[in-house]
């Protein structure tokens, strides 16, 4: 075998080994990265806005109603929100705040 051909074969084998070495070191690193990404990717499990829908659509009917009276809104809030003692709040200012928070400022 010619010297040049012989040397060429050796160098091509060396290249293959180098590529193999790169793969054998990078694959564990990449897989480690992927595994750690999935392990530490904390999902927000309790997203009340999107996950805890009521099963029945009728609960949301009031939202479709264009003209709601304040009483209807209060009733709805008492029925469906966590503030159970909503109707016992005496402070006018607090009620006003709650109204603003839930319905927005009517004046703008």
């Amino acid at each position: 075998m010619e010297n040049k051909e012989y040397l060429d074969k050796i160098h091509s084998k060396i290249k293959i080994v180098k590529i193999k070495k790169i793969f054998s070191t990078s694959i564990p690193i990449i897989s480690l990265f992927v595994i750690s990404f999935f392990l530490f990717d904390d999902k927000i499990n309790e997203d009340l806005l999107f996950d805890n829908y009521y099963d029945s659509f009728s609960v949301y009917e009031w939202e479709l109603n264009q003209e709601l009276s304040d009483i209807e809104v209060y009733d709805y809030l008492i029925e469906t929100t966590c503030i159970e003692n909503y109707d016992t709040i005496e402070s006018e200012q607090l009620l006003e705040w709650i109204e603003k928070l839930n319905l927005g400022d009517k004046n703008g």
């Binding site: 010297n3 040397l7 074969k9 084998k13 080994v17």
Partner: protein
């Protein structure tokens, strides 16, 4: 040898071009040596290339405690062992082994007995020997190494080398006798 030591040193210091010179300086004796243990020209060239690839990556480990040739010799022996290991699996499943060329063997009268056997059958029997026994046998018969040299190459003591050789020879003759002359 001084020249090769200098080349090795230069390569270890990062001069990649010296590698080709190291290859060209050692290629012929290496192919010759491997050929004497494998009886196949193509295989011996392939194995020698693998040895140089191995050498490329591990030459930094060479500290110069032994001669460069002795150090390379060990890599060659390991590669030949790998080659035989693969052949052993083929042999176990009765697959065809590579065709062997004429072998230049049996310098010792004591081992002339092997001349009477078919070379392909002889090859099959050598393939089926245990790893170290086979290496000792190959180095002794086909490379004409003394037991002292073999013990140094394989890191075993001289008596062990002798015992392994005689065991290998006995096993080989048994195997060959079973198949007839």
């Amino acid at each position: 040898m001084n020249n090769i030591n200098q080349l090795v040193k230069d390569f270890q210091n990062g001069d990649q071009k010296k590698f080709d010179e190291i290859v060209l300086l050692n290629k012929d004796w290496m192919i010759d040596m491997i050929y004497n243990m494998t009886y196949n020209k193509q295989d011996s060239e392939d194995i020698s290339q693998d040895v140089f690839v191995n050498l490329f990556f591990s030459i930094k480990k060479f500290k110069g405690n032994s001669s460069f040739r002795t150090w390379v010799y060990r890599i060659v022996i390991n590669k030949v062992n790998d080659y035989y290991r693969k052949l052993k699996i083929r042999n176990f499943f009765n697959f065809e082994l590579s065709e062997i060329d004429e072998s230049k063997i049996y310098k010792d009268n004591e081992d002339a007995i092997f001349l009477n056997f078919d070379k392909q059958l002889m090859f099959r029997s050598i393939v089926s020997l245990k790893g170290k026994q086979r290496t000792v046998l190959l180095l002794r018969i086909y490379q004409s190494h003394s037991f002292k040299e073999i013990s140094k190459l394989l890191n075993i003591n001289e008596n062990n080398a002798k015992v392994m050789f005689f065991q290998a020879k006995k096993t080989l003759i048994n195997k060959l006798s079973k198949h007839g002359k």
